[in-house]
């Protein structure tokens, strides 16, 4: 880095793009880098052109970006996550391609598609994106969409705060995306351990991109956690006792608690590393009293609860779909609640197993190893509960059930390899090898990814009014299952053969067959991604045939299935009085569930506001300015954030009133339409006859 910093542009100049690298030297690595940047630029240009051509800017701004409706915020979270997932999966594909061309010799150790430094950026961005900008937005989005509907609430407790959280997450994701085009990303892996990521060994902008993306989006996630917790504690419909909440709400509560207590640890460790890098402090440096081991300690204090933040919403989804699609009541509700809460608490006591080999004595390792094995017990309880739920049920093999089956088979393997790794003496043998890589992909892909995609498939009709194509849904699910098996099971073998994780090159030709199998799996993963995109597209084209205006396409039993599809912004014309667990199912059992409410009243909805958008813009500017040392912009945007908060605080904000007449008209239209719809039986579920009004005589849940 040059010492002179421009007062206006900071460290930015024309030499930071991958195109300049390409001009300097043409090889496969710079071509891949410039190609990725070009995809980003062309994608952005295409998006802007499309929005302009279709005149969608106005509707996008009015109906989405400024909306404080939790359902829309949830959908935006998921859209963000899917865009980031496309990048993450493609990066995973490049990683696998590189490694299958990376066999070197002792005289010429480095070969392969991309340069070692580029490879390090790839696995660092891949991990950062997949955890923070795919898994987290997917689950937060799904919870935002589903939780208020299941609780019988109109919205989150703090709708505008929700908007701000989304804005902060998007700002972080934007920073990671910009790093493709402007400058480089860090090379320290998604955990960015110092001292390597300290200013001495990583002087460039890469680690700073990671730090600011994490700091900004981390604040957003903490706020989201608080929002979820307050919503669950304060906004439940009358009669919705804790033990009447659907399981997805319970796992959301666990997630909320863990977000509140775990995310600050990440903010603290990243903040301390930022102070080391910017302010010359010595928290994690080699000299002057720094202790880099404390970084690993604090980071994983966040990191382990994070694992369960990711997995618990998927457990909630699997609880819902295993019951709905086998036409049975959920088996062992109480045990599932207790298991979820136990997981949430025990997950705070196991973080040391991420650094068994850091040098602490055997006694410390054993204590945390035992805690780690203990956490497998509630997870096992859950698997048995879901299997018991499906046992002797009339199972319809829909796409979510394919995901669930894949999850059963694969997640158990991943969980068992986790129990193996929980033993410190075994961990010493395989730590930092691809055995570990295989393990955590083995829990995160079948757990989080399958769970979230199953949830998207399950609740999609509620959001958009039409079902997703079942055939393509199943194909996607099978491709993701096959892709996982071929990509990651070979990594277990490679890990046992001694291949370290994150290695840009190796000299053992015995690895090659397994590398090729893994690359084939990566191709399948790409196909799965394409198939997922095609599922959305083909379903959109057939939306009239797939429409389910009745709103209950799967014969469900929780409150969200009582409303039309797509669900109106006020969700419920009248806040329901809950009398039982699975209240909607009870209504079905006791006769006509689609009775109109007796009276309609005006409904207060949060007014649209650009607050979240402004906060997101200032936060992005702050992050970008700090990365490139553009101090005037950093100071300006740093002061703008409290100014925006104070400005909004001083305004009188009126909610938007939806008049009773409008609600009544829409609701009456829905009720008359319901009366005309022919009930669809289980056998008709995937056909055009399923218009969202199920045959109640078949309801057994």
């Amino acid at each position: 880095m040059s010492a002179d910093i421009s007062p206006i542009f900071g460290k930015l100049d024309w030499s930071v793009t991958p195109y300049t690298d390409l001009l300097r030297e043409v090889n496969s690595s710079t071509i891949v880098g410039a190609g990725a940047a070009s995809v980003l630029v062309l994608g952005a240009i295409a998006a802007v052109a499309l929005l302009t051509w279709m005149r969608w800017w106005g509707p996008l701004y009015r109906n989405w970006l400024t909306s404080a409706d939790a359902k829309k915020i949830g959908i935006m979270y998921i859209a963000l996550a899917l865009v980031m997932m496309a990048r993450g999966i493609i990066e995973g594909f490049v990683i696998r391609t590189h490694q299958s061309t990376a066999l070197g010799t002792l005289t010429q150790p480095e070969s392969g598609l991309v340069s070692p430094d580029h490879f390090a950026q790839l696995f660092s961005t891949h991990g950062t994106i997949m955890i923070f900008f795919v898994a987290m937005p997917l689950l937060i989005g799904l919870i935002n969409f589903v939780l208020p509907q299941q609780l019988g609430a109109r919205d989150m407790a703090f709708p505008v705060l929700n908007q701000v959280s989304l804005g902060l997450t998007a700002a972080g994701a934007g920073l990671v995306m910009i790093s493709l085009l402007v400058g480089k990303f860090g090379t320290g892996g998604w955990t960015m351990y110092p001292p390597y990521t300290g200013i001495d060994y990583s002087p460039g902008e890469g680690v700073d991109y990671w730090l600011w993306a994490i700091l900004i989006s981390g604040v957003g996630s903490t706020l989201t956690g608080m929002n979820f917790a307050v919503t669950i504690f304060k906004e439940r419909a009358p009669g919705m006792h804790f033990m009447r909440m659907p399981l997805f709400c319970w796992t959301s509560l666990c997630v909320a608690i863990m977000l509140i207590y775990a995310m600050p640890a990440l903010t603290v460790s990243s903040g301390m590393l930022a102070l080391d890098r910017y302010a010359g402090s010595h928290f994690f440096t080699n000299e002057a009293g720094g202790n880099m081991m404390n970084y690993a300690n604090i980071f994983w204090m966040f990191g382990h609860p994070e694992v369960y933040i990711l997995i618990l919403p998927a457990f909630g989804v699997f609880s819902e779909i295993s019951s709905t699609f086998s036409g049975k009541r959920l088996y062992g509700y109480t045990s599932l609640v207790i298991a979820s809460m136990s997981i949430a608490v025990i997950s705070f006591t196991v973080w040391l197993h991420h650094f068994f080999t850091m040098g602490q004595s055997a006694g410390v390792n054993i204590a945390f190893g035992i805690a780690t094995m203990v956490i497998g017990i509630p997870t096992g309880v859950k698997i048995y509960d879901w299997m018991a739920t499906m046992w002797r049920g009339r199972i319809r093999v829909t796409a979510p059930i394919v995901y669930l089956t894949g999850f059963f088979l694969l997640f158990v393997i991943g969980g068992l390899s986790g129990i193996i790794l929980a033993n410190p003496s075994i961990d010493y043998q395989v730590h930092n090898s691809t055995f570990l890589v295989a393990h955590f992909h083995n829990v995160i892909i079948p757990g989080v990814l399958y769970g979230m995609l199953a949830g998207i498939h399950y609740w999609f009709p509620k959001a958009f009014g039409f079902r997703l194509d079942e055939d393509w849904g199943r194909r996607t699910a099978l491709l993701f299952v096959g892709g996982f098996v071929f990509t990651f099971l070979p990594l277990y073998v490679l890990g046992l053969m001694g291949l370290p994780r994150r290695s840009p090159t190796f000299q053992n030709p015995d690895f090659m067959p397994w590398m090729y199998i893994a690359s084939f799996g990566a191709v399948l993963m790409l196909c799965a991604l394409a198939s997922l995109a095609w599922t959305f597209w083909t379903s959109y084209r057939n939306r009239l045939a797939l429409a389910v205006p009745g709103g209950d396409p799967w014969n469900g039993s929780s409150l969200e299935w009582s409303t039309p599809a797509p669900v109106p912004e006020w969700t419920f014309p009248h806040i329901p009085h809950v009398a039982a667990r699975d209240d909607w199912g009870e209504c079905k059992r006791s006769g006509d569930p689609w009775k109109a409410p007796q009276d309609y009243v005006d409904i207060e909805m949060p007014a649209n506001t650009a607050h979240g958008l402004l906060i997101a813009a200032t936060a992005s500017a702050l992050g970008f300015a700090m990365v490139w040392h553009i101090w005037w912009l950093a100071a300006l945007s740093f002061l703008a954030i409290p100014a925006l908060l104070a400005w909004r605080g001083m305004q009188v904000i009126e909610p938007r009133i939806v008049p009773a007449g409008e609600v009544e008209e829409a609701d009456r239209r829905f009720r008359t339409m319901m009366a005309d719809l022919a009930p669809a039986t289980r056998a008709d579920e995937e056909t055009e006859r399923n218009r969202g009004r199920p045959d109640l005589s078949e309801f057994a849940g």
């Binding site: 504690f233 304060k234 439940r236 009358p238 608690i257 207590y261 640890a265 202790n291 081991m293 404390n294 300690n297 604090i298 204090m301 705070f348 006591t349 973080w351 040391l352 850091m358 040098g359 602490q360 004595s361 006694g363 410390v364």
Partner: protein, 123 residues
């Protein structure tokens, strides 16, 4: 559904009192923060510096709980709040205690506080 305990600001009666409580909390927190920095920059012996900073931190926690989170020992306090405070305390104890346990063990093995240990452990 428990009754709200945060006491929304009522312009007629308690707004002044509420604002006063927030104001006191803010000023107290500010003073305690400045005090901690002052202690760190002062010429006091290190032990006293650490004691002063810890005391300021604990007092600030109490201030936040009282003035911002509206927790008190009064009877009206809801049971949910108590449970949440206890739960937070437990998790923080796990984190702080765990850090102490891990880092002191690592520290002991890194710096080996006596020469005898090192000489006996070497072959």
């Amino acid at each position: 559904m428990t009754k709200p305990n945060t006491g929304e600001i009522d312009p007629q009666e308690s707004a002044r009192q509420e604002l006063r409580s927030y104001g006191i909390g803010f000023v107290a927190s500010l003073l305690l923060t400045v005090g901690a920095f002052a202690a760190a920059l002062s010429d006091l012996p290190t032990v006293w510096k650490i004691i002063a900073i810890c005391a300021a931190a604990l007092l600030q926690i109490v201030t936040h709980m009282r003035n911002f989170l509206h927790l008190s020992f009064s009877v009206e306090q809801s049971r949910e709040d108590l449970l949440l405070v206890l739960f937070s305390a437990m998790l923080l104890a796990i984190m702080a205690g765990g850090t102490w346990y891990i880092m002191s063990d690592l520290g002991g093995r890194m710096h080996g506080n006596s020469h005898e240990d090192r000489s006996t452990s070497l072959p």
